[in-house]
């Protein structure tokens, strides 16, 4: 924590605003982050996917300068976020997985007090608070107690709080988990606006749709490792054929699959069977041969890739 006296290498700032090189972090014997390398370009949105406990939050905390790593290198805006915590954090906006609002203060005071941590004061602070509350549709709630807010309102307030310092990078750890579709839409449109304004976003999510919609690049983590990476469409292309037929497994279908001379790409989730193929026609033929419902035939999604790569079973 010697951010003022540090002699750490400062890289010239470039288009790559976040860069990780074989970053590792252990908690005791548990490798929460295991040799992760990645880079994020300015103005892009990178989504981290992974099952519970994959290490997404831990990695986000390392990038955010609040957790030391055991190995590897990290540059955020050209600096080491652990060695130069304050300098780096002054330019980040962070939405934590838990809201962590100050329940002892009302809505406006939450932002005002937080603004002071960035040394934003006086009229500028008042204006900023007003603008941000308007931005997240919380104007008029200035004097509400935190306890009186719904989950969606709290989340919006947390996002407003993360924007107080006009950050260059946003770290969003599951910003839409547990929210209703309306609030989720509102947050997405807000993210799109910010991205249009040049914001770099690192997003952690369990919603594949969210990642596919918003992210330029997606990284899939499992047990601390980054196991796959790429643009959403490109990831699907790399790992699975474009069409899939999904149905409930039965003796008849199992028997049929066992008898196939030419092996098919088959995945199983519990009692569901998925057959992936290049040819939609071939899958259509299967639908009639096995007397299945046509609704099981669809395009391959990021979720299929995710499940294929991270395995079917529960991770805990």
């Amino acid at each position: 924590m010697s951010e003022s006296t540090s002699t750490a290498t400062v890289r010239p700032e470039s288009d790559t605003v976040i860069e990780l090189e074989r970053v590792s972090k252990s908690f005791g014997t548990l490798k929460a982050v295991d040799e992760v390398s990645l880079s994020i370009a300015r103005g892009s949105c990178y989504a981290l996917l992974g099952p519970n406990g994959a290490g997404k939050t831990t990695l986000t905390r390392i990038i955010g300068g609040v957790l030391p790593r055991n190995g590897g290198k990290v540059w955020v805006l050209g600096r080491d976020p652990w060695e130069e915590q304050s300098e780096v954090k002054a330019r980040l906006g962070v939405v934590l997985q838990e809201d962590a609002l100050d329940e002892d203060l009302d809505v406006a005071r939450n932002l005002e007090i937080y603004g002071r941590f960035y040394w934003i004061t006086g009229r500028r602070l008042k204006e900023k608070v007003h603008d941000l509350l308007t931005l997240v549709n919380l104007d008029g709630r200035e004097r509400s107690q935190i306890m009186a807010l719904s989950g969606g309102m709290k989340r919006r307030l947390v996002i407003a709080r993360a924007l107080l310092n006009e950050p260059e990078i946003l770290l969003l750890d599951e910003p839409t988990t547990g929210l209703d579709p309306q609030v989720r839409q509102l947050i997405w449109s807000l993210m799109r606006k910010l991205m249009a304004g040049g914001m770099t976003i690192l997003l952690t999510t369990h919603y594949m749709f969210e990642a596919a919609e918003l992210a330029d690049r997606v990284g899939i983590m499992d047990q601390g490792k980054l196991i796959a990476e790429g643009a959403p469409a490109q990831l699907i292309e790399t790992y699975l054929p474009p069409f899939v037929l999904e149905f409930e497994s039965s003796q008849a279908t199992d028997l049929f699959l066992a008898e196939q001379a030419e092996p098919l790409l088959v995945e199983r989730h519990g009692d569901r069977t998925l057959i992936f193929h290049e040819s939609e026609q071939l899958l259509l033929d299967l639908v009639s041969r096995l007397q299945l419902s046509r609704t099981g035939l669809r395009g391959t999604t990021l979720e299929d890739v995710f499940l294929k790569l991270t395995g079917r079973g529960l991770h805990e």
């Binding site: 924590m1 951010e3 003022s4 908690f27 955010g64 609040v66 957790l67 030391p68 915590q85 304050s86 300098e87 954090k89 002054a90 330019r91 980040l92 962070v94 934590l96 838990e98 809201d99 962590a100 609002l101 100050d102 329940e103 002892d104 203060l105 005071r109 007090i113 937080y114 002071r116 941590f117 960035y118 040394w119 603008d131 941000l132 931005l135 709080r161 993360a162 924007l163 310092n165 006009e166 260059e168 606006k193 910010l194 249009a196 304004g197 914001m199």
Partner: protein, 271 residues
Amino acid sequence: MSEMARVTIPTHRAPPRPARIASVWFRHYRVYFNSFFANATPAVFEPIFFIVAMGIGVGRFIDVQFLGLDYASFMAPGILAMTSMYTSSFEATYGTFVRLRYQNTYDAMLATPLTARDIFVGELLWCSTKGLLFATIVGMVLLAFGKVLTPWSILIPLVGFLTAMAFGGLSFLVTSIVLNMNHFQFYFTLILTPLIFFSGLAFPVHTLPRSLSYVAYSLPMFHVIETFRMVTSGYRHVTVSWAWVCPLLLVLMALVLGWLGVRRMARRVQR
């Protein structure tokens, strides 16, 4: 988005350390004075009841002059010490623990330019400020009752501040290891409360058998009370000949315990 487009400074710099620490202090100040009367009333009235009940009530039946003082005047330094100690210790145990475990306050603060050390230095200074505040209030009550006898009593707030800093640091050490809030009871009932009673609050420890009085001299609270005694009753009322050491030890304890406590808590939140 017009709000975002109005960025005038391209790169935001981190505030300097004193500003960061002050912002943490200010957060606590703001929360506290939001509900000052609810928060402060019990803490102020307790010592008042104490001095009325013990000093004036019980003291009337104790017809001994303690070091040439009536009983309530004798107890005044102990009451000041107790007030500063408890105010700060409650804040740095229960208060800190709730922020750590239930409110995630420190996680939110850590996302800003604040470092873990900034956060706990700010918090320790806030605990010390509360000690100062309460020592001042109780000091004024004592003054009103005529139990404060010297002009040196102008230093009561400072001694309160230092006392609160020492016990804030000690309490941080406790908070950094406890697993749940019930454990604080051990700290309060087995450590702090006996500490104050064996350190010269209710009776002068130099009248104890020699070996026991040496034990009392080795307790941190003895030095606190002795320092308060100098500023409430004057140096001629101190109980030991080497009393001049006591304020120095108090400063030392405040710095060392404060530093250790901050260091431990900073590690506690960043692992």
